[in-house]
Symmetry: C2
Subunit: 366 residues, 2 copies
């Protein structure tokens, strides 16, 4: 499926669906923050905690084996060497080694629609058994019948109805369980793989390489913070408290001695475009020295990082592989890479060409 | 000075001043996140990164030398041993080892007024040279003349005028510089010490002890996040991104290629009372297993922590030392410890009696 040839109707639909994703994220109950004792530890914290990253102790071998040799790979490694070598004029103290990564399209795929949107649609269908009246009532009927044209006609009001009706009253534990079950079982309609398998092996290597060099790695995504946290920690090795995203407001409820956090149907923060530097300042409190993105939604994050007085590196992932992944850029309805591309070229930021720079795309390709 | 004997006028004044503190915090420009290369690294990150904290490798010696032997000290050490010993039924994986600390009254003193308030008043006076008209114009005249009675008469509108007039247009770099200069030079009116010297040595030891046992330590304070970050990282060894506090809204401004974050005069988040569990969920995404506070403003944070299914510990610092620090609790205008005290007793939470449990209060007492 080529997303560059979506019909006009699909394009309009997609824009509206982006709205629903965001609304879904913003009105969902906050995910439970309580990890079960049996759950895997965050690889990132552990690797960071045990690694000695002075230049002398730097591990031998290729830190980025899934990257083809070339300018991009060399530039990344040269950068890390220059800022971690004691005595180097570009040396950066470990606390200042902050790296931020967009998620959709940068750490995992995002086509033909943001995966969080597929979650939202699946959730409507999953709840429909408890709501037999939905089969005859719009906008739910349209979702259940996969009638996207009709769903579009319902407009934003309809989308809000879907969200409000499907998520009201959910507890944080329930939400966390639902996300975890979905991410552990739901498969991508085209790739026929679990969504969580569609993460980028070369970017995983980059995250781990930076962590091994005492970088603190953060996700800074327009996606819902509560949607990402239940699975992204394990998938990427990035701790929950280093995941920044869009969110809704919430309140504490003592609940007769069994406290819960309840989400309000109000937007709290949109972590996209100009919201990304604001999110970085709010959650991290320090300007990154590395920022990685793939779309115009990441441009301000890269600008903010490029304004760091310390040596810094900006990387755009360019989706150029129509066979192994998807190929899209300036005219795509999702992950539009247009203004960002121009600025990357003008400012000589790194652009990773997925087709040519990456030996493999997904971990299962290895 | 005994704060338990403040006159009624002073009590009313104090309540209003709490308002101005918050307003000050919320309308200030966001602090710069860019650390200079020469700045000290965050001790917490470094100690956490280099420590091996398995039970077998636990360092010998007293981890809490400034704590007198007793139930509280023993309970803390027993707790840490039980949750870090591999094979213990109470073992907690490192990623779940989250500890949250209130700041004012828990990590440093807070009498006779929150130190952030002293900063706000100092800032008005510092800026008055550029505003000669303030000498004749209320509410500025009252601040410059230390006429708190008159300032009170100006009401909330007057306080807002002060804040708006003194902070509008400030850049984040300027704000960061001002906070840093103030904390490096300003002295407490009674103790005659730098404010940053009035931190609690026994709590510093507790923070480091937990970090050495692979805890991730967070500040969760009602104070301004931008007020704390420029100095708290160095003072406590808690990284900037692990400091949660009250904040104002802000926007990204590309500023012709020199991007800045500009604060809006709107409240974003009040990280106090029921806001603390919300802040924990938003910034940390995981329920703590240790929470430390000193007032009713911390009660919900301790309740939230106590609801963790993992073994957990709640600690209240009780200000009982009128000679070395201050003695106040149920009837205090700042750091009221009333409902929290009752609940701590009912639920057998730990209460550190500063007079009896702490050998020294401040680092300079050692």
């Amino acid at each position: 499926m080529s997303t560059q040839h979506l019909s006009d109707q699909n394009k309009r639909l997609s824009i509206a669906l982006l709205t629903i994703i965001l609304l879904a994220a913003l009105t969902l109950i906050a995910g439970s923050s309580c990890k079960s004792p049996g759950e895997k530890p965050a690889a990132g914290e552990n690797s960071a905690a045990t690694s000695d990253t002075t230049a002398a102790a730097r591990p031998s071998g290729d830190p980025l084996p899934s990257w083809n040799e070339g300018t991009v790979k060399k530039s990344i490694i040269d950068f890390v060497n220059s800022i971690t070598t004691t005595g180097s004029p570009d040396f950066i103290q470990p606390p200042d080694r902050i790296a931020t990564f967009d998620n959709d399209g940068t750490l995992w795929s995002e086509q033909p629609l943001y995966f969080q949107f597929f979650y939202a649609l699946d959730q409507v269908k999953a709840l429909s058994a408890k709501h037999p009246e939905w089969k005859k009532k719009q906008p739910f009927k349209a979702v259940i019948e996969n009638n996207m044209g009709e769903l579009m006609k319902q407009g934003e009001k309809g989308l809000l109805q879907v969200i409000a009706a499907t998520h009201a009253g959910m507890t944080s534990d329930e939400f966390n369980t639902i996300i975890t079950q979905w991410i552990d079982t739901a498969k991508h309609p085209i790739k026929k793989k679990l969504y969580k398998e569609l993460i980028f092996q070369p970017m995983l290597e980059l995250v781990r390489y930076l962590q091994a060099n005492q970088f603190k790695t953060f996700i800074v995504s327009g996606g819902g913070i509560d949607f990402m946290r239940p699975w992204a920690e394990t998938a990427y090795g990035i701790p929950k408290d280093q995941i920044v995203g869009s969110s809704g407001k919430s309140v504490y409820d003592y609940n007769n001695g069994n406290p819960v956090i309840r989400k309000l149907p109000e937007v709290d923060f949109i972590d996209d475009k100009a919201g990304k530097p604001v999110g970085i300042e709010k959650f991290i409190g320090r300007k990154p020295v590395i920022a990685c993105g793939n779309s115009d939604g990441d441009l301000q994050m890269l600008q903010w990082t490029a304004s760091n007085k310390l040596k810094n590196l900006e990387l755009y992932v360019h989706h150029t592989d129509s066979v192994r992944e998807w190929a899209y850029d300036r005219k795509s309805h999702i992950g539009t890479f247009d203004k960002g591309w121009d600025e990357a070229i003008a400012k000589k930021w790194l652009i990773a060409d997925m087709k040519n720079d990456w030996k493999v795309i997904y971990p299962f390709d290895k």
